[in-house]
């Protein structure tokens, strides 16, 4: 090495081979996946990455060769993304979610879920009483396309037909499932979750409104003496579905609460913290909604017996409850949510 070569050039010459090697390893890892690296490459990746970040911080101090600083910056960024990549495999992720993190999140969010159920109940009760007083309230609560002919004016016979499932289904059971997934309640759950962020207000309104619709439906059926049958018709999927809506809304309420009362954190930090549980609630709700769709599409048309409907509906409810209360209690149930990867 020539004595007249300047310091930063010597610095670069000494390390360039390592940088090139790191670049090659990172390239290979990006292309073929981290798990397919050779033994030597996998061993050296982190070491070389640390050396490169080290070089970068030195180069920023001593070198005025902008090419080197810029190169090292993007090399380090690239390697950083590979070294700190999410290392999840899908099955492990799903197993952990269902066996531990989801039920734990639901247990932690017991209060907002309870509030969501109560809000729905209040809405239902109010609408029931109002519609009982004056059937015209029904039209205020239920949009026309959802009622599909079931209103105060409908005859008991036509209501019974819907309940017993003898009137429709040109598409068959699976078709009903399909239409269900894009139905009203899925949208309610989605919006109640996502819009909860606006200080809880939309979630609360949606919960009250959804409860109100339910209440006025019940009122119309009770009026025609079909209350018990309607409960059976609703129960088979309704237990799962209404719970899903409540859980999704509880997620929204959690987010909104964090916006309203962030405590000692900044609003965005509080939101991020609340988001950890809220998102799990949303995913749980999505799973439950798919299950409810299957129950509604298939179960409700095949099973028309009242007691069987009740048994399936509440049985599902019990299963969900068992999952939420019993799963994931082993090991470290009080794990700090911030440390949890899912």
């Amino acid at each position: 090495m020539n004595a007249r070569t300047i310091r930063s050039t010597r610095f670069r010459d000494e390390r360039e081979a390592d940088w090139q090697r790191l670049a090659a390893i990172v390239e290979a890892a990006e292309k073929r996946g981290l798990s397919r690296l050779g033994f030597d490459d996998a061993r050296d990746l982190v070491l070389l990455y640390r050396q490169a970040t080290n070089s970068l911080s030195v180069a920023r101090e001593i070198s005025l060769d902008s090419a080197v600083v810029r190169y090292l910056e993007s090399l380090c960024a690239r390697a950083y993304l590979v070294v700190y990549a999410p290392r999840e495999n899908l099955s492990g992720l799903l197993a952990r979610f269902f066996s531990r993190s989801a039920p734990q999140a639901v247990r932690r969010s017991f209060v907002p879920i309870l509030v969501a159920f109560l809000l729905m109940a209040v809405g239902a009760l109010a609408a029931y009483l109002l519609t009982d007083e004056d059937p015209n309230w029904f039209y205020a609560f239920v949009p026309g396309d959802l009622a599909s002919g079931r209103g105060p004016g409908a005859s008991a016979e036509s209501l019974r037909q819907v309940i017993e499932g003898s009137d429709y289904q040109p598409l068959g059971e699976l078709g009903a499932f399909a239409t269900y997934l894009f139905s009203h309640n899925t949208r309610v759950a989605l919006f109640a979750f996502a819009l909860g962020i606006v200080f809880c207000v939309p979630s609360v309104i949606l919960l009250l409104y959804n409860g109100a619709m339910l209440g006025s439906f019940v009122s119309v059926h009770v009026d025609k003496g079909l209350g018990v049958d309607f409960m059976g018709w609703l129960t088979i999927h309704g237990v799962t579905e209404l719970s899903a809506i409540a859980i999704a809304s509880a997620g929204g309420l959690t987010l909104g609460y964090a916006m309203l009362f962030p405590g000692l954190r900044s609003r965005s930090a509080a939101l991020r913290h609340a988001g950890r549980d809220a998102v799990k609630l949303a995913v749980v709700a999505a799973v439950m909604l798919v299950a409810a769709g299957l129950l509604e599409g298939i179960g409700r048309q095949l099973v028309t017996n009242f007691w069987a409907r009740m048994a399936i509906g509440w049985g599902m409810g019990l299963l969900w409850l068992a999952w939420f209360t019993l799963a994931g209690r082993d090991g470290s149930p009080t794990r700090e949510p911030a440390a949890e990867p899912v």
């Binding site: 007249r4 070569t5 300047i6 310091r7 930063s8 050039t9 670069r12 360039e16 940088w19 090139q20 670049a23 990006e30 640390r50 970040t53 080290n54 970068l56 920023r60 101090e61 001593i62 005025l64 060769d65 902008s66 090419a67 190169y71 910056e73 993007s74 090399l75 380090c76 960024a77 690239r78 950083y80 993304l81 590979v82 700190y84 990549a85 999410p86 899908l90 598409l171 068959g172 059971e173 699976l174 078709g175 399909a178 239409t179 894009f182 989605l190 996502a194 962020i197 965005s268 939101l271 991020r272 988001g275 950890r276 998102v279 949303a282 995913v283 599409g297 949890e340 990867p341 899912v342």
Partner: protein, 311 residues
Amino acid sequence: MALFRRKARAARRRPVGREPKRLSLTPPEGVVLHLEVAGLGSRLGAQLVDVIITTIAMFAIIFALLYADLASPTAFGAIATFLVLVFGTPYYIVSELLMNGRTPGKKLLGLRVVSKDGSGLSTHQVVVRNLTKEVEVFVPAAFLIGGGEESLWFNGFMLVWLLVVVAVPIRNKANQRIGDLIADTAVVLDPRPLLLPDVAVAADEAARERFVFTSAQLELYGAYELQVLERLLRGGEEVKDSRERQKGLARIGERIRAKIGYEERVSPPEEEPFLKSFYVAQRAFLEQKKLMGDARADKFHREDEAPAPPP
């Protein structure tokens, strides 16, 4: 007045165009990395590519089922719905998880999702940013394409929501949409490391013996001018013989010699060796100064705007 001056200076410091938005990440190693934030146009492009990919995949599966006559017409609707469901949010979540923050569309356009706090991208973050995508991107898009509904309330609400959804990433420092804000992520351009040769090595020994500069002559310029010279010397190595370049170099050499008071005359073919020698000498001088704590950002001898040390 002071503001004007500062603006003028800023304009002088910045040679071309608007500075792209940059995102500073601090990995656990503690060395700050600056990544270029992805523009909204390219993100929209990546989203479109993903939509096209998923749509094609969906149709391919549906046609395959039809062709194989596997699905009865009644089951057909259910299968289609399932496909729409699977190729929605789950597609984005799974691909971003397995491909390290990239969907196929993002990969094609050279974008990727990074966690803003400098740790690795977690599953939670990926799920959050894609769950909100449903409400933030797909619902407004469906509204725009579908042309709204009957209800005036609904349309008004959707329009306001649309404005919010568009305004948030435009106003944001790192072009984060609402989902990114909740998940604490950002979309950046994939860094592409490209190592250019060192200009100082290319200067040959004989030339450096011939052109010698005193430290008084090297006192005048700073790091900024040095790097302008570096760009100049680097730009167009491949068109070495072109007359245009020789002329440009001669002009610059002329200017530099006048400024530093270099007495000797330099013949046109020697212009490039002269500039290279000057570059090496100047860089060695400035680096020495910097090492001694006298960093010069430019010829006004302002303090170097070194990046703030990490806490």
